[in-house]
Structure formats: structure tokens, C-alpha cells
Point group: C2
Chain length 525, copies 2
């Protein structure tokens, strides 16, 4: 690895005095680093880079972290699927609402479609008032606007907006006069019995990319001309001045804001600019209207369309004035959707990791008992489930010995208390809340507690368990027992302990780890 | 005036087939204009430009509209007051909460401070839980985040964020890892008995402008380097890639995003860039820390600070761990605040316009009666008020003859029905809802109605009123009367009519127009 910039390297020091291990926030300020910061010594080996700094600080990096591929926020054209209508000849991306709710994999697929293709269609969302808010809240927060928390798209007697008539509407983005513009829009169909009123979507990033290809100068004009958008009625006067095509500092398309209806008078441009702007604007408008770019479909009751309002243009055909067509819509934001997707992916990776532990190391010996570690934990989980325990306690029973992985059980049997209950609870704390981790943290203490308060309990311990009891500190004294009993998770820990003790039966059939995945996923969500 | 670009000119055609008169939305699409659009004839005179277009359309412009100064959305450094701490030696901009609520002028001043200086301080906001939400809702919408609808800033046992400890926090903007970032922040002090814990504000636009002055290349580096911000805990994984200093296409400072704690590893930059970025970043950080830039003050219970999170950096000094310090905060957005301010200004202008009418034309003759038009309307308003009428009806009584302004009364007395009730209602519809305008629209009909259903009423009419009754159509027939009585505003119109009839007493003292301004302002809000 080349020597990187010293401030860059130091700013990324992962040590716990530089970064909060809980959330990765930096604990120092950039100006606190000395003006003459330099590397005093460096040592690189075994995938680790160790640096002693001129100010005495010591950093240890994993080389893989420093060399990782650049991540971005997923908001530019990079990594997205820019599409034309024909790309969806085999159907629109989406899922059934019930499957979306039940299965984290379906949820991730839907959110991922919004990120990659700019939209997804949920089917079977109950066609009831305000249900669109529940869809938005499944991945983020509702953005209230002057139209309310939600808005009704139907023919209104005295419409304040063309949307609330039966007229055709050309492809556009919503609320261009807002800054911050709502980055996501949801449209939920309650009724659609009118003739006409079909929906259309156009990939604005694709249209912008075509403009860049066919007429780079027009593209440049649209990225550099601030366009004043305005909306004015009795209750609002909203203004935003933004280019029609927003690019990031590297020139990548990041936002399309296209709404013919709300463009105010462009003033104060240099002399030739209005002509150049209008030529480019008209050329871009013509591209958005190419039939090949426009995906047309019909929303049916229960359909809920979720789309990126910084990228997709939406449209509708005219419909009969008297026909019954009623959509409810609301706005939300992409950042929360990306966060929800990242959590789902993180959870899937965590479950894969746990499943891998059960299949790998878990197949090994369990402290001299006649079952493997995986069998032991699966039995404990199954016992908790059979006893009707709440999900968090089933999870705790299933995962209670995760702290034994990576060879710690061997240490325990060699007479060293490895504090595996704490190791396991801490490791699981990345993914689960205290309702899961605290009974695990206390499950060794629960054994010591039960030996004190229930003499018959101790008599029933296996030989290995009696041995480890001694390594772990023996039965509690009265003060310890009273303190234990006062802990909020004590009862759960005692219940877990009893399943733990019974989960050592050879040749017992248990459900596989996969059986528990939905339960674990729900606790992570 | 030079001949402007034809598409620019046509796009701004104000005719009602090009623009919806209710909200100014355009009713045509830019691509619908012909490719060879040209001016066929033009005629400019008396401040009007009339254009006949090559496609046969005709546009009439007021020259002043075309020549108006450019407006922007008020979000860049342009027109703002970039400040240093000493600029507030005479006190912080703000108002008492009670005055803010009662007086639109105070409200406008507070919101205007947030726009110009980036902040304002409301005092005397009840130091109660959730009150901060009421402050946000007084000018906009609460933006919910992963921290909830609101968040508590106090020492927490297991903090997920440095904010929830007693540590000092250097100047920063909030939620840099969100895109869209919340553009406004509110902090409401419930308790502050701790030693330390003082608040600090730094004008980030000022700091950025200083960097541009002192080191233009560093400024350029910070505007063009996308910086990855990240926040990751058990419930969220948020990412935004944005430069530390955002500029608009004209290069004006538009957004500062500065938060040392949340900057992730910058990767994928060209070789020399990390060094250039860190040098610029450190120089900018040093500027934000200059003591002269930092405004320091202490929040007291009941204080609520409202500030622009795209401009101001906020900070706090450390405080005693055990001291009681409790703030509640929430986020909101600048676009709604600007809208609220525009409405207040529009309302003030409307009230000035009405007050001017009363003082000017209103001093003239009123249909041959012994009072002026202004005296007549003020008497009607005062009668309604004395009768304990609800505010909307007092307003309707006060304004019921606005349709007579601009000489229409003269026409009526010349025997032509000028439909002044409709003219007035339409004119007032820009500012008031139907509860005010509809009784006005019906107040002439109410006279015709009363003449039919109450013979004694007609006998009491003044001579002038009896004359205009004939011009207006005479008493209603039975069908007309039944239709009138069924109108939702009929009762209000009848009540208004009776005050109208009694408001013709010479030498009666009435409150001036100014007396009614707060009532009118409240109905406009």
C-alpha cells in the first residue's frame, strides 16, 4: 500500500479513543490534530498496518478497511439501472403486501428496486383510507406538506392543483417548488373505475443521460441554469431555485426536477442564456415524451406505487370526469429507505453469520456433553418455543452460548472462566436489544443463583456443569443472590437456564437453524 | 425593452388559457409550443406589451412584470446578513412567544431573522414536554427522523450519540448523514441548572465566505469534494455524500454541512486530493473556531432557539454530569418557513391595501347617503362586533362594499347593476376563505330576499336603497327566496344585511380600520 495522506490516515484511526465503538462517531475534532502531524514509525504485516504517530498516538488498521472500494450514498446514476419501458415487458418490480410484511427478503427486494430502478409496486395493500401512510412508515417517515400528511388524487370541485382534475398530466416530478423536495412519493389506488386515468413513469435519469449523449451542451446548460419554481395559493407561497438536472461534484446525475407547470419567470440571466436554456429545456422535454421511455400501466385497487421523486417522472392519461378514480398519496424520503434497506442487508448478513456458526464450529464438541454445541443451542431454543416463551426468550435460548464460539469453550474446560455469557451478549448486542442479550449475559449467574436458592437444582447438574460451576465462582452468597434477583432480566435468565440444563439429550430431533430465522429477523427489525 | 427570447416570452404569457388564475400553474407543456415560434406582431405602449404570435396566440404583458428584478428562493448567501458575534452585542434577534402568537408583525420579524441571520430566539415558550413541536408547527411541519418526532438532549445512561452526554461539542451542523438534511432545527430549554452547558452559534456562511476570501483554492476544494457522512447504530444506517460547502450554479454559498464526528473514510479520490482536502478542511475548521465568530449565550427555561441547519453551526460547552440540563429538540424545513413568511408579508400588504382603500376612495360619497363609504363599512363592522358576531362575520360586515371601490358605486347609481357583491367577494377571495367572502357575495341577494319575506323590512329601506333594489332586480319571487334560504351562507348574509342597513348614521364615531387589522390578519392566517 502507498503511504496515504497522514491526516486522512489519522482521521480514520479506528481505536476506541478516536471512535465511539457503538456508532462509529469520531471522538476528536480535526483541528485538534497537530499542524505537523507525521508518521514516526510504520509496520505492515499480516493484513495489519500499525502506525506510531509524531504526537505519540498509536493506530492499528486492518489493511482491508483502508483499501476498501469507495462507497457512496446510492443517490447518483452510478450503480443504478437506467431503463426504458421495454425493460419491464415481463412485469413491474414489486411484491405482494402480505409477503413484503412477512419476509425480510421480499422487503429488501422491494426497497432495492426503488434504489436501482426508481420504483416498485406493492400489490394487495388494503384499499382503505390512510393505508398509504402505513406503507410509508414501513421504511421511513411521512413528510407532511401544504397538501397535508396525505393527499387525495380525485376530481375536486374547486381544484387548487391540476392533479385534482380529470385532465391528462405530462411526465413531471412533484413539489419542485420545495427545497428540500420530498424525495419519495407513494400513490395508493383505492378506486379506479374510470375510463382512462392510466399511470405512466419515465426514468428521468435515463432521459438526462440521453440528453448528455445526444447534446452535451444542452445537458450542461440544464445543470448550470438555476430555475425558479413557484407555487402560490391562499395557504402557501413556495419557491425553490434549482437546475432541472442536478449533478454531484463528479458530474454524475443526482437529481431531476422537471415540472413545466411550476416554472416561474427566469430573470437575471445573461443575454444569450434564455435562448440556450429554452432550447435545452425543449429538447429535454421532447426526450421525456419519447414513447419508448414511457412505462404505462394501470393502477388497480390495492396497488401502491413507491417511487423516487428525484429521478422518475410520473404522468397520467385523461379520464372521464364522472368516472370514479381515487388515489391517496403521501411523501417520504429516500435516506430513510436506504437506511431500512441497509438494516435488512445487515440483518441478513448477521443471520447468515449465525447460521454459519451453527453449521461450522457449532458442529464441534460441547463441553464434554453428548451433544454438539449447535445441537445444544437448537434444543434450548426448541424447548423455549415448546414452552410458549415469547420470541425474545426463544432467541436468547437459541443463542445463549454464542460466546463459546471461537474456541472459548475449550478455555473454560481448561479451568479458565472465559466469561462466555458476557462475550456472547456483547457480540449479539450489535443486532439485538437488551431483551435478548441480558438473559444471555445472566445465564451463568442464573446457574450460580439457582444452586443457592434451590438445593435440588444443584443435585441435578451434569458432571461437566458441576465442574464449570466451580470455575465460574460457585454458588452465590446471599448478598449476590439478592442482587441477582433484583435484576430486571433475572426471571428470563432463570427460565433460559432451565432450558439450557435440559438441552443436552443425545439423538433428539430439533428444527434446523433456518426455522428460527424469521423470529430472529423480527427481533432485529 | 429589448426583444427577449421568444420561448421565454411565450412561456410567461399570463393569459388564463396559459396560466391557472388561482395558483399561477401553467396549463400548457413547453413541448407543445411550435418549433418555429416567432413574434408576428408586437405593440408596446402604456406599460403594456402586446404580442401576436406566429401560431395565432395573443399575449398581453405588463412591462413591469417582464422587467421585474430577479427573485430567488432566499436560500443562498445573497441578501443575508453574514455575522460575527459582536453584531449581536445589543441582544439576540427574537421575540416573546405570546407576542409572536398574537402579532403577525412579530411573527414576520422572527421568521425574517431566521432567513437573514440564520436564527431567532423565542422566549417564554412554556417549558413543558412536546412544546417544541408547537413552535415548529407555527411555521411549518415537523420532520421526523431516527431520533423520533422530537429528541431529548440530556445525559443518558447508554448514549447512542455524543449529544446525549455532558461532553463539550464543537460547532457542527446536525444530521449531515441525511439527504435531504433537515434544514431547520429547534432547541427548546426545559431546564438548565447545570454549571456549563452554554450554547454557541457560528455563522457557517460567514466562515465559508472568510475561507473564500483568505484561501480561494481551499474554498474550491471544499465545494467540489464529495464527503461521505455516515451514522450507524442498531436502528439506522444513514449515508449522504455531499461537499462541506455547497454552492449554487452561480457559485453562491447555499449550504454548509460540517460535522467532524460523522465523516466516513474518503475513498476513491485522485492521488493528491486527500492532502488538498484535509488541508482545506482543517483551515475551514480553524475558521469556525475563531472566538470572534462564536456567539455564546445561555438558554434559560422557556427559551426556544430556531436555526438554519444548512447555515449555522451550533455548539455547547461541557457541563456537570449531574447538573440538570434538559433540552427538547426537533427538526423542520426552511421551505415552509419561507412560505409562512411570504404569507405574512402578503397579508400585511393586503391589509395595507385595504387600509389604503378606506383612507383614499373610501372617503368619497356612498351612494347618496349621508356617510362616506369608509364610514359606512366601519359602522357595519362595529355593529357586527358590538353584536358579538364571530370574527369572520365582523370581517364580512367591515368589507362588504369593497366591490364598490374603483368607481363601481357610480355605475350603480347610474342605473347599471355593477354586481358589486360579486366583485368584492372575488377580490377578497385572494386573501379570505368562503366564510368571509360568501356572505358578502350574498349581501345584495339578502336585501332582495328580506323584501320578499319581511314586508316591514322593505318599508324601512332608505330612498337610495329602494332605488338600487330596482336596479338589482327587485324583491325575489318564491322560488328564488327558497333557493337563497338553502344556501349555507344565507343566515350570515341576512345578518350582514341588517348591519349594512343600519350603518348609515351620520356623525357616528367608529373605531378606525387599524382596530380591525388583528382580526383580519387572524382570518387570513
Amino acid at each position: 500500500m502507498n503511504t496515504p495522506s497522514p491526516y486522512w490516515l489519522r482521521d480514520n484511526c479506528p481505536c476506541p479513543s478516536c471512535r465511539d465503538p457503538r456508532n462509529g462517531q469520531k471522538l476528536f475534532q480535526i483541528h485538534e490534530l497537530p499542524a505537523d502531524l507525521a508518521v514516526a514509525e510504520r509496520h505492515e504485516a499480516d493484513g495489519r498496518l500499525e502506525v506510531l504517530w509524531s504526537d505519540g498516538h498509536r493506530s492499528v488498521y486492518r489493511s482491508q478497511d483502508l483499501a476498501a472500494a469507495p462507497e457512496d450514498d446510492g443517490r447518483t446514476e452510478r450503480g443504478k439501472r437506467l431503463w426504458e419501458a421495454a425493460d419491464f415487458d415481463n412485469g413491474l418490480p414489486g411484491a405482494d403486501w402480505a409477503a413484503y410484511l412477512a419476509d425480510p427478503g421480499e422487503r429488501a427486494a422491494v426497497l432495492s428496486s426503488v434504489v436501482r430502478s426508481g420504483f416498485a409496486l406493492l400489490r394487495g395493500v388494503p384499499p382503505a383510507e390512510r393505508q398509504v401512510l402505513a406503507v410509508a412508515r414501513s421504511f421511513g417517515y411521512v413528510r407532511e406538506t401544504n397538501y397535508g400528511e396525505l393527499f387525495d388524487v380525485r376530481v375536486e370541485p374547486d381544484p387548487t392543483n391540476l392533479a385534482f382534475t380529470s385532465a391528462a398530466i405530462a411526465p413531471h416530478t412533484d413539489n419542485p417548488y420545495r427545497d428540500p423536495v420530498p424525495t419519495l412519493q407513494l400513490l395508493h389506488c383505492l378506486r379506479n373505475e374510470a375510463r382512462g386515468g392510466d399511470s405512466g413513469l419515465v426514468d428521468g435519469f435515463r432521459a438526462a443521460a440521453l440528453l448528455r449523449e445526444e447534446s452535451p451542451e444542452d445537458f450542461a446548460v440544464l445543470t448550470r441554469t438555476p430555475v425558479p419554481f413557484v407555487f402560490r395559493d391562499r395557504t402557501a407561497e413556495l419557491r425553490a431555485e434549482r437546475p432541472l438536472i442536478g449533478v454531484d461534484p463528479r458530474g454524475r446525475i443526482r437529481e431531476v426536477r422537471f415540472n413545466n407547470r411550476s416554472i416561474d419567470t427566469l430573470r437575471g440571466l445573461p443575454d444569450a442564456e434564455p435562448d440556450a436554456f429554452y432550447a435545452a429545456y425543449r429538447r429535454f422535454a421532447a426526450i421525456t415524451l419519447r414513447p419508448g421511455l414511457r412505462l404505462t400501466f394501470r393502477l388497480r385497487p390495492g396497488d401502491c406505487l413507491v417511487f423516487d421523486n428525484t429521478r422518475l417522472l410520473h404522468a397520467r392519461t385523461a379520464f372521464e370526469q364522472d368516472g370514479h378514480r381515487h388515489l391517496q398519496g403521501c411523501y417520504a424520503d429516500l435516506d430513510s429507505l436506504h437506511s431500512a434497506l441497509a438494516l435488512l442487508r445487515r440483518q441478513a448478513a448477521a443471520l447468515d453469520e449465525l447460521e454459519g456458526l451453527f453449521a461450522g464450529e457449532g458442529a464441534g464438541e460441547y463441553l464434554g456433553e453428548a451433544v454438539t454445541l449447535a445441537e445444544h443451542m437448537l434444543q434450548a431454543g426448541a424447548l423455549a418455543e415448546a414452552a410458549g416463551a415469547p420470541p425474545h426468550l426463544v432467541a436468547a435460548a437459541l443463542l445463549h452460548d454464542v460466546g463459546h464460539f471461537h474456541g472459548s469453550g475449550t478455555e473454560l474446560m481448561a479451568g479458565r472462566d472465559n466469561r462466555h455469557s458476557h462475550t456472547g451478549a456483547d457480540r449479539l448486542g450489535r443486532w439485538f436489544g437488551p431483551e435478548v442479550t441480558e438473559p444471555i449475559r445472566l445465564h451463568v449467574a442464573a446457574k450460580r443463583y439457582l444452586c443457592t436458592v434451590e438445593p435440588a437444582y444443584r443435585a441435578g447438574l451434569s458432571a461437566a456443569s458441576e465442574y464449570t460451576l466451580q470455575v465460574q465462582g460457585g454458588p452465590m452468597d446471599e448478598t449476590e443472590a439478592a442482587a441477582f434477583a433484583a435484576h430486571p432480566a433475572a426471571a428470563d435468565a432463570v427460565a433460559l437456564r432451565r432450558w439450557d440444563d435440559h438441552a443436552k439429550r443425545p439423538a433428539t430431533t430439533t428444527p434446523p437453524f433456518a426455522h428460527f430465522r424469521p423470529l430472529l429477523a423480527a427481533l432485529m427489525g
